[in-house]
């Protein structure tokens, strides 16, 4: 990509323009201007790779990649403070908390991933299409989205639990539906504005087909919004899963999940604060990374959008 860009820019020299910097230099400039964004990027990349590795390891080897087994009960080791052997201490069941937090990245990652790729992306596409064409589809999606968001999310989730029992699947479904509506609402609004642009009229005048306009003009122009909103949807979904698991109505008890760890810490937190601090920090740092990354990307990708979302 970098060479393509410089090759294309080279032709501008014939018109006496100063050579522009390469993509990498541009990235470096953004990085220097946004030190917080760099930290956020490191957090998010670390979290996503950890989550992906744990998911693969769970699916293939049925175990987590961690120094100790995060699930096996080990009573003699229970409720130890942080030490060299157990950097985050151990919990009530004698599990190494550090291992549980490493393994817990799987659930947070999975839920965020499902929310973004099975919920948000299709929802965003629906939103763009319905905002662009504005036919009955638009009406149906908007009204059902309004009905869904009218209720507190937790009530909807509890309704789903009564209907289909608790577990990862139920969380994934509710989070995905919420993300479909979230994505369609935001992208519809952006598509409505985008289609007013003169370059769309120009493309129409040149005889471009509706599909070509949609894929070559509308979608590339709303891409920054898609990327920025995806990171906030990811953050919200990670928070939602941890809240549900914290309430004891999320993933099955015993599963390594940061919300479950925090719930177990509630009882003994007064005497063993490490039980609460480490899972709480894990959730906070990951969500903070995702939110900060979204903010930074918004500033870089599209300065016009600065502060217009949320």
């Amino acid at each position: 990509m970098a060479t393509d860009a410089t090759a294309a820019l080279g032709s501008f020299d014939e018109y006496g323009m100063a050579p522009r910097s390469s993509r990498w230099a541009e990235l470096g400039r953004h990085a220097r201007r946004n030190p917080l964004g760099v930290i956020a990027l490191i957090i998010v990349v670390a979290f996503i790779s950890l989550g992906a590795v744990q998911t693969v390891s769970h699916e293939v080897f049925d175990t987590a990649i961690a120094p100790y087994d995060p699930r096996e009960i080990n009573a003699p080791e229970q409720l130890q403070g942080p030490s060299w052997d157990h950097p985050f201490g151990t919990n009530q069941a004698g599990n190494d908390l550090f291992s549980r937090i490493l393994a817990g990245a799987r659930i947070s990652f999975l839920i965020g991933f499902i929310a973004v790729f099975l919920g948000f992306v299709p929802g965003a596409f629906l939103g763009i299409v319905s905002g662009y064409y504005q036919r009955w589809l638009d009406y149906v999606i908007q009204r059902s989205g309004e009905a869904w968001t009218a209720f507190p999310v937790l009530f909807l989730y509890l309704a789903f639990i009564t209907a289909m029992g608790q577990g990862l699947r139920t969380i994934a479904i509710v989070v995905a539906i919420s993300s479909v509506f979230g994505g369609s609402r935001v992208l519809r609004a952006v598509a409505l504005v985008t289609k007013q642009n003169e370059y769309i009229t120009a493309a129409k005048a040149l005889g471009a087909s509706e599909l070509r306009i949609l894929f070559r003009h509308v979608i590339p122009n709303v891409m920054p919004v898609i990327i920025v909103t995806a990171s906030s949807i990811f953050a919200v979904s990670v928070l939602a899963e941890s809240a549900l698991s914290f309430l004891g109505i999320g993933v099955e008890p015993g599963t390594p999940s940061w919300g479950i760890d925090l719930n177990e810490g509630l009882e003994n937190g007064r005497f063993f604060p490490h039980l609460v601090i480490f899972p709480g920090l894990a959730i906070s740092i990951v969500v903070l990374g995702l939110n900060l990354l979204g903010d930074t990307l918004r500033d870089i990708l599209d300065p016009r959008l600065r502060g217009t979302l949320n």
Partner: protein, 316 residues
Amino acid sequence: MWRYTLRRLAFLPLILIGVSVLTFVLLRVLPGQEPAVLLAGTGASQEQIDAINDSLGLNRPIVVQYFDWLGDVARGDLGETYQGRRDIGAEVKRRFPASAELVLLSLAVSVAVGTSFGVISAVMRNSPVDYVVRLAAVLGQSVPDFFLLILLIILPSILWNYAAPIGGYVAPWDDPWRNVRIYLPPSIILGIGGAAGIMRLQRTMMLEVLRSDYVRTARAKGLRSTSVIVGHAFRNTLTPLVTVIGSSFTLVFAGSVIAERVMSIDGLGVFFLTSVISRDFPVIQFLAIYTAAVVVLVNLIVDLSYAYFDPRVVYR
């Protein structure tokens, strides 16, 4: 406006009947643990389970059960909980004040902190104050409120060996000091967490409004900058703000499950949570239609308030 209100209200019974039929049928038809099995406990015989089903009336046809229940509700009898056979109406009445006070107080803190810092941040745009406020807002949106509430419980006990009173409900007119000690600290924590979203929205809208022509005109005719900001700019950001507050306002009546759970407050949110887990059908049914009614009414009030905050909005 009255015709509009009446038309909207006419839909309310329809929505409530729809929600009640839906919850009633789904609870009984979809697979899931039978309440009688949960009530009988492990190792109960089939006869015991049948006897419980008999006494709860769960072995009758769904249609009969539904109209029986509807008749009772129409007469003001909400029925009894399966667990402990308590009167649901009395239970809701007992739990409501605790839920409402917690959510109202935290909402008040959210609105006060969120709007004032949103305005300050927009007016002092790109200054160090703006950066600090925005960073705090991102932090507020990222750190889960239940983590903060747990820290609120454990940190004082670790640092100063002080355990704040939690749980229970004391009406503010009975023992104001105790009420404040139980409800104010969690409300401030929850309120500051919730302020983050309001602050970001407020800042965005203020920036938009501050660029508009009528603000420039107000400045040009020599108005003091405070009256420009408060009287002209802020006033025009109220409509979206009311929408956001309205969506949280539902929780005043429904209760905040997480906060009640952490602070051991016996409110409506926890009532719903435990009823879902123990599959207490009459409670779930009532709370479902109750929440639906609250959502519809709050949305109506929010819609009507647009006409008050923005005279250009007219309902017919």
